[in-house]
């Protein structure tokens, strides 16, 4: 249901504008309308956008910097938000908050300085250690490769060596280097190379120390990576350096763990302060950033916005109590159908239906003044899901998983809502599973002995009815495909029909007769089509009804044409095709039941091989294939059920809202 909104304008003396904004912010119910566009269109420039005084602008800049600083600290310290008690954050928020911005800034700065003092050194030390570890891990394999050769060179007094690291794909450059350095050293040089890993090759150039400068100068212009060890290691003999590198690589993770432990203690101590400071800064800036959306004259400020009708009285009382007659709130008379298009939309549904508002994460809210279809989604989504899955075993697992998700992620709206939808979908899967008598495919029917072999073919023994009767129990989705196809087409007619009836009501509510005619024409076409289609389903269907159906369909095309022109005619014909889209309700279920039966059959064959290993293999096949089918059964029916709503049904009437209701309110330390 869409909440009834009232448009209000608040006017008051300019010198108390910021106080009035604070009161409105505290109330947290006004959806602000940005007046800047309206003001710029005004020919008379007596009304201008509200601007902050220089001091407030300075406070805004300081708070923005503090917000960035707190954000950085939260990122560095990464407190576990789930462990933080909202009550603690709220208490700290109240301690930080002050109506005087300067006092509030001073409190936050003091807090941050204290946190920074305790965290700066460990954070910097941690960064240094990570850099050192990464550098040593890069050098270590190279050093291990060149160590034996370097040790030999070290024993030769006249010889010097330089280690290089080269990408493997450019390994050929070593030949060129060998030739050039041989020229420089009059042949007193040698290069040995060895691959370090898939990407790099280490090389050691050994040459007469006499040519050290020339070789260094030459390599400097050749753009090759010389391995330069950290200065403290470079001066040591290679074997000693390798030993130290090994020791440091082993030692650093321990040091990092120790720093992390200290940091987590500090984080635990200050996380409440940080989150509360972030919320307080957010609220204060939210209030300041709203100022340019308001208007002002020389003496008066103007705030325009929307309130839920039930909140008008509270806002009036709050403003009157604080400012008396210095601030006046007026409810603007919005005549039905005029000006309503700009009204922000808030939904007010029962707690059960509210979980199904998840659909508005994929689409906008319905336009103000139209009908909210959430309740239709709440009824049909789980039914469609259950109709497609239709297995008691799968339904039970989906229901339990959905409920766990729903309970565990109470603070994460998307997962919480999705969990509830899965729970309801699982419940309907069990109901339809009972109708189809499916429990992990045909397992239950086999246990009950309801599958018998006749002339080498397996057949279902019906508990109610027989192969020749229209209705039989259990409804075998394979044998009863045509029956279920008919059922899904009727469901499609009802589902699209509801959408069209809502379309007609929306048209009548908005006095848009053409819109109502177009939707009514389409409904006539669909009804006529269903009346004619009855003849194909039932031999006893009266021919007169077929005639009525054809007349109704033709008349419907004409009515749709009158209402919506050529578009209406085309839409009325396409709408008939939409009904067949509901065939997916049985087709997807059919694919699922065939896969479940294949899983059972394979598991029986593998398990029947004999012995314990055969049984274990059979169980593995059973679990793996049913597991795969279950994952598909959770994903695919959700998507297709959503699609049937968004495309086939809602597509017939849904008009998106321009704006969602987003009240101007404080977090109050709750986020």
């Amino acid at each position: 249901m869409i909440e009834k909104m009232a448009k209000v304008e608040i006017l008051g003396l300019k010198d108390i504008a910021l106080d009035a904004i604070d009161v409105i912010h505290d109330q947290g119910t006004l959806h602000i309308e940005d007046l800047s566009e309206r003001i710029s269109d005004m020919p008379d420039k007596r009304v201008t956008r509200m601007e902050m005084d220089p001091k407030s602008a300075e406070h805004e800049a300081t708070l923005s910097n503090l917000r960035a600083k707190v954000g950085d600290m939260i990122r560095e310290l990464a407190p576990d938000v789930d462990d933080i008690s909202p009550a603690d954050v709220q208490r700290e928020y109240k301690a930080i908050w002050s109506d005087n911005v300067e006092t509030m800034i001073a409190r936050i700065e003091k807090s941050l300085a204290e946190i920074e003092k305790e965290t700066r050194d460990p954070v910097e030390r941690k960064a240094d250690l990570m850099v050192e570890l990464s550098r040593l891990e890069k050098y270590a394999p190279i050093m291990y490769k060149v160590q034996p050769l370097a040790e030999r060179v070290a024993r030769m007094q006249d010889m010097a060596s330089i280690a290089l690291i080269i990408e493997r794909k450019y390994k050929a450059i070593l030949n060129y280097l060998n030739e050039e350095i041989s020229k420089l050293t009059n042949g007193e040089c040698e290069i040995v190379a060895s691959d370090v890993d898939d990407e790099s090759t280490a090389a050691l150039i050994v040459f007469n120390r006499h040519y050290l400068k020339q070789v260094h100068d030459f390599l400097a212009v050749q753009d090759v990576n010389q391995v330069r060890l950290p200065s403290d290691l470079a001066r040591k003999p290679i074997d000693e350096a390798v030993g130290e590198v090994r020791a440091r690589i082993a030692q650093i993770p321990g040091e990092l763990d120790e720093i992390d432990r200290k940091l987590s203690q500090v984080t635990g101590k200050y996380s409440v302060q940080l989150v509360a400071a972030r919320n307080a800064i957010h609220d204060r800036l939210d209030s300041m950033e709203a100022v340019p959306k308001f208007g002002q004259t020389d003496q008066v400020f103007i705030i325009s916005g929307w309130l839920p009708e039930v909140e008008v009285k509270n806002m009036e009382t709050a403003l009157a109590d604080r400012f008396g007659t210095k601030v006046i709130m007026t409810v603007v008379d919005i005549r039905e159908g005029e000006g309503e298009e700009d009204a922000p939309v808030a939904l007010r549904n029962s707690p059960f239906v509210r979980y199904f508002e998840i659909i508005y994460m994929l689409s906008k809210y319905p336009r103000y003044g139209t009908i909210d279809p959430t309740v239709i989604f709440a009824i049909f989504f789980p039914i469609f899901f259950g109709l497609m899955v239709g297995d008691m075993g799968y339904g039970l697992i989906i229901m339990v998983l959905g409920w766990i998700l729903h309970r565990k992620y109470a603070s994460k709206p998307l997962i919480n809502m999705a969990g509830f939808l899965l729970t309801m979908g699982g419940l309907w899967s069990i109901i339809f599973g009972a109708l189809y008598l499916e429990f992990f495919g045909d397992l239950l029917m086999r246990w009950l002995g309801l599958i018998e072999e006749v002339h080498g073919e397996e057949q279902v023994k019906y508990i109610l009815g027989s192969e020749d009767t229209l209705f039989k129990y259990p409804i075998d989705r394979l044998e009863g495909f045509t029956f279920m196809l008919g059922v899904t087409i009727i469901i499609g007619f009802v589902h699209i029909g509801i959408g069209l009836v809502i379309g007609i009501i929306n048209g009548l509510k908005e006095h848009n007769r053409k819109h109502a005619l177009e939707k009514g024409g389409l409904l006539m076409v669909l009804t006529g089509f269903m009346l004619a289609l009855g003849k194909f389903g039932f031999s006893w269907w009266p021919s007169a009804l077929v005639g009525v159906g054809i007349v109704l369909a033709v008349a419907g095309v004409v009515v749709a044409g009158i209402g919506g022109g050529m578009g209406g005619v085309v839409e009325s014909l396409v709408g008939v095709g939409n009904i067949f889209s509901y065939a997916r309700l049985i087709a997807i279920g059919l694919a699922s039941v065939i896969m479940a039966n294949v899983a059972n059959s394979l598991a029986r064959q593998v398990g029947g091989g004999g012995g314990v290993i055969g049984v274990i293999a059979g169980i593995v096949v059973f679990v793996a294939l049913h597991g795969l089918n279950l994952v598909i059964a959770m994903f695919s029916p959700s998507i297709h059920s959503l699609r049937l709503h968004l495309v086939e049904s809602f597509g017939k009437f849904f008009e998106p809202a321009k704006y969602r209701y987003e009240p101007f309110k404080k977090t109050g330390g709750e986020e």
Binding site: F481, T482, L485, A587, H640
Partner: protein, 77 residues
């Protein structure tokens, strides 16, 4: 022999109904999927809507399956 040819043709027709519609769906989904990957890379909040868009061409293969199933029932006619 005649009966065998009839069953063969029915099976072939059913295979064509599901096979061609599956190919068409695959082709359409490959293009929508590529566009979806691009769109989601730039605007991750579109992921929900794009999943619905990818599901739209599946109507073809679903109707193909229904037709194929109906064709196989001709065997007993």
């Amino acid at each position: 022999m005649g009966e065998a040819v009839k069953i063969g043709l029915i099976a072939f027709s059913a295979a064509l109904a599901i096979g061609l519609s599956a190919l068409a769906t695959g082709l359409a989904q490959s293009r929508i999927g590529a566009a979806m990957a691009g769109a989601v890379a730039e605007r991750p909040e579109l992921v929900g809507v794009t999943i619905i868009l990818v599901a739209i061409p599946e109507t073809m293969v679903i109707l193909g399956l229904v037709i194929a199933f109906v064709i196989t029932t001709l065997k007993s006619a």
